[in-house]
Symmetry: none
Subunit: 144 residues, 2 copies
């Protein structure tokens, strides 16, 4: 896939977060914009569309001299909200994979399942299926 600028910036940030080891980074918006030869608000755009709470991130920032944007990857599994969407469950699976609670194979299989459900099922049924998946994973992994 030919990646859009937004995609590249997103990936770059995610790699930084991974490499940080702490699930958290601080960047300078203008510096990042410089790196990608774009306007600073492009960075803001990426952050506000791909690093939302739903995606499993929290962001903070400060303006003025030595300003920064801090992005933190949150650990969130006990979301008792009874409506789950595709991105949420994907983020959840990503998290389980990262924590080695499931392996690559299980992960891949589950992603196929989520995609299949997303395409073929109505919203209500999707939600039910996602609940079942979360439920089964809870028992399987021992968490929850």
């Amino acid at each position: 896939m030919r990646k859009s600028l937004a995609d590249k910036i997103e990936q770059y940030i995610k790699v930084l977060i991974e490499k940080s080891g702490a699930g958290q980074i601080e960047i300078q918006r203008s510096e990042l914009a410089e790196t990608f030869s774009c306007v600073p608000s492009q960075v803001t755009y990426v952050i506000s569309t791909r690093f939302t709470q739903d995606e499993g991130y929290v962001t903070e920032s400060r303006r003025g001299g030595n300003g920064f944007v801090r992005i933190t990857r949150t650990q969130w599994i006990n979301k008792v909200d009874n409506s789950i969407n595709r991105n949420q469950i994907k983020a959840y699976l990503d998290d389980l994979l990262k924590r080695q609670l499931i392996g690559n194979q299980e992960y891949t299989m589950l992603i196929y399942m989520v995609e299949s459900a997303t395409q073929g099922l109505a919203a209500e049924q999707q939600n039910q299926l996602f609940q079942v998946i979360i439920n089964a994973l809870g028992k399987y992994t021992g968490i929850l």
Copy 2:
């Protein structure tokens, strides 16, 4: 019968999918339209009539800058008998396990899922879920 434009585009896409090796491609609708000297909506027409879920494909797309259409070929089981019960799917999973197409871990996880569905969902939803599971497994294992 002379081949229509739609037929040619369909075939072209299918070849691309085959060559991809991953059973999946991403195209730009406008680019493909350019290739075939037709209006973009012609491509949409082909995709929506020949790459449906029933035909064994799922599609996703994104508009805007660097937008794309992603087409994924899914394995589908016989759409003849579309009612599956708990015992049937268990037998199916047993078989996959025996043939080493899935490992013990995946098997265990899926059994949890089936049990969870059996207990928490109405018959119709169970059936839908089982279909999704089989669908995803087909794709995951690569079998028909």
